[in-house]
């Protein structure tokens, strides 16, 4: 029987391939631990009940809401955040397409959208606009009206397939 864990806990978390040791209570959300304790503020906190998608990260390579996950659950799992995607001088194909197509304005929702579609486009290399809209329904954006995000995701998908320069 595993011993019940007493607060605060000392956790060893693997984030973007690096191991971080943090001391946090069990009730602390992964989104807050990423931002407050590890200093990775690219993961944004919007609604804190799983609706807006701004805090989307990858758990073992699959998208998840960091606000519906407790950091304590992530021991033994690999967490990937927006900080692992591209670099300011070498954007990922998706980031580049969002930049070119004006797929963001204020940028608050963008990290969640990028993380979601970085995964999705690996699972689905040739999506239709309808497919993209279905997935994008999980991320709220109050600036763009979504149209340019859809265009950018399709452009990135085409580039990743090697069909577009």
């Amino acid at each position: 029987m595993s011993a019940p864990t007493q607060d605060p806990l000392t956790l060893s978390l693997s984030v973007n391939g690096e191991t971080h040791e943090v001391r946090v209570p069990a009730r602390k959300l992964l989104s807050d631990v990423l931002r407050d304790d590890i200093g990775l503020t690219g993961t944004h906190v919007g609604c804190e009940h799983g609706v807006c998608g701004a805090c989307t990260i990858l758990i073992d390579g699959r998208p998840a809401r960091a606000c519906l996950t407790f950091a304590v659950q992530m021991e033994g799992h690999e967490v990937t955040t927006i900080e692992a995607v591209g670099r300011p001088d070498t954007l990922s194909a998706l980031q580049q397409a969002l930049h070119e197509e004006h797929g963001l304005q204020c940028g608050f929702c963008t990290p969640g959208i990028v993380v979601t579609f970085e995964h999705y486009l690996r699972e689905n290399t040739n999506p239709t606009a309808e497919d993209v809209r279905d997935v994008l329904s999980g991320n709220l954006c109050r600036c763009t009206g979504y149209q340019n995000i859809v265009v950018a995701v399709l452009k990135a998908a085409a580039r990743m397939r090697g069909e577009l320069a």
Binding site: M1, P4, E48, G50, G53, P63, T69, V72, S137
Partner: protein, 289 residues
């Protein structure tokens, strides 16, 4: 929007999870995908003193197809249900319903056992389970028991699950009719449906409806299977007249709640419309239209 304090447990086996749940009784909540419990914790609508994390019980993330059953482990995520070839072959209605749950990211985490235990009256998987006569396998301190989904779901977020018990699997009887549809109406894509319809049937050599199953979500405190409508449709041609008659009879048979936001008459009309759409979708899919 931060949860109240709790003690976190991460059992490595089903036996350990059951022991923890029995020991802490009503003070403990099992945590599976967390896509419904998470928001409830954050909003402090739920404040369990103990959280028992089931995510290491990967043996419960399973699909098994035999001649007469599709058995889905309780920890199977919606995304897997929506994409697994064995589900698409044996029970495509279940896969389509799973594919419509919430959003892509939510489906990566949410589980079938969690959805049934949560028992939202508008949710997809309880509706499919009731419509197709699924059986839940529940483990507890006295071993395991089986219960029909329709008996398990008692009311809004109220189920027959006692202290120290966990759903371990859901068994869907096979085969089911080869024509099927899941139709739902919600105000925004990915929101909970106001009304949803699950439909399954076959056509005999003369084109007549056999093995008809019809269930509705969002029109009562639990998903409803409508045996009297099924009997009414049995043996008739799935033509315009029959479909219209069954849709009207369905709207008459239900007694949805009346609220300012959603009047009962609106849910009735939605039910009628969705039954028509479901039959047409099922027939069109078969005919490749």
């Amino acid at each position: 929007m931060k949860p109240a304090p709790f003690t976190y447990h991460r059992p490595a086996s089903l036996a350990e999870a059951l022991t923890l749940l029995l020991r802490h009784g009503p003070a403990a909540k099992p945590l599976a995908g967390g896509q419904s419990l998470g928001p409830m914790l954050n909003m402090r609508l739920a404040r369990p003193a103990h959280l028992v994390d089931l995510n290491d019980l990967i043996e419960l993330d399973s699909l098994r197809v035999t001649e007469d059953t599709l058995e889905v482990g309780a920890l199977t995520r919606h995304h897997r249900l929506a994409n697994a070839p064995e589900v698409q072959r044996s029970l495509p209605l279940l896969g389509a319903a799973a594919a419509s749950i919430g959003h892509y990211t939510i489906r990566q985490r949410g589980t079938i056992g969690g959805s049934l235990a949560h028992a939202d009256p508008a949710a997809q998987l309880p509706l499919i389970a009731v419509t197709l006569g699924a059986t839940l396998v529940i483990s507890g301190p006295d071993g395991s028991r089986e219960i029909a989904a329709a008996d398990f779901l008692q009311s809004i977020m109220t189920v027959d699950l006692r202290d120290g018990e966990l759903i371990t699997a859901v068994r869907f009887p096979l085969p089911v009719g080869d024509l099927w549809a899941y139709e739902a109406f919600s105000r925004r894509h990915g929101d909970f449906a106001l009304v949803s319809v699950a439909l399954s049937f076959s056509r005999d050599a003369e084109g007549k409806i056999v093995a008809l199953r019809l269930g509705l979500g969002g029109v009562d405190t639990v998903p409803l299977r409508l045996p009297e409508i099924e009997a009414r449709g049995q043996g008739r041609l799935a033509d315009e007249n029959t479909i219209r008659d069954l849709a009207i009879a369905t709207a008459t048979a239900i007694a949805p709640e009346d609220s300012e936001q959603v009047p009962a008459v609106y849910r009735r009309e939605l039910a009628e419309t969705l039954v028509v759409r479901a039959f047409k979708a099922a027939v069109n899919r078969e005919e490749g239209a």
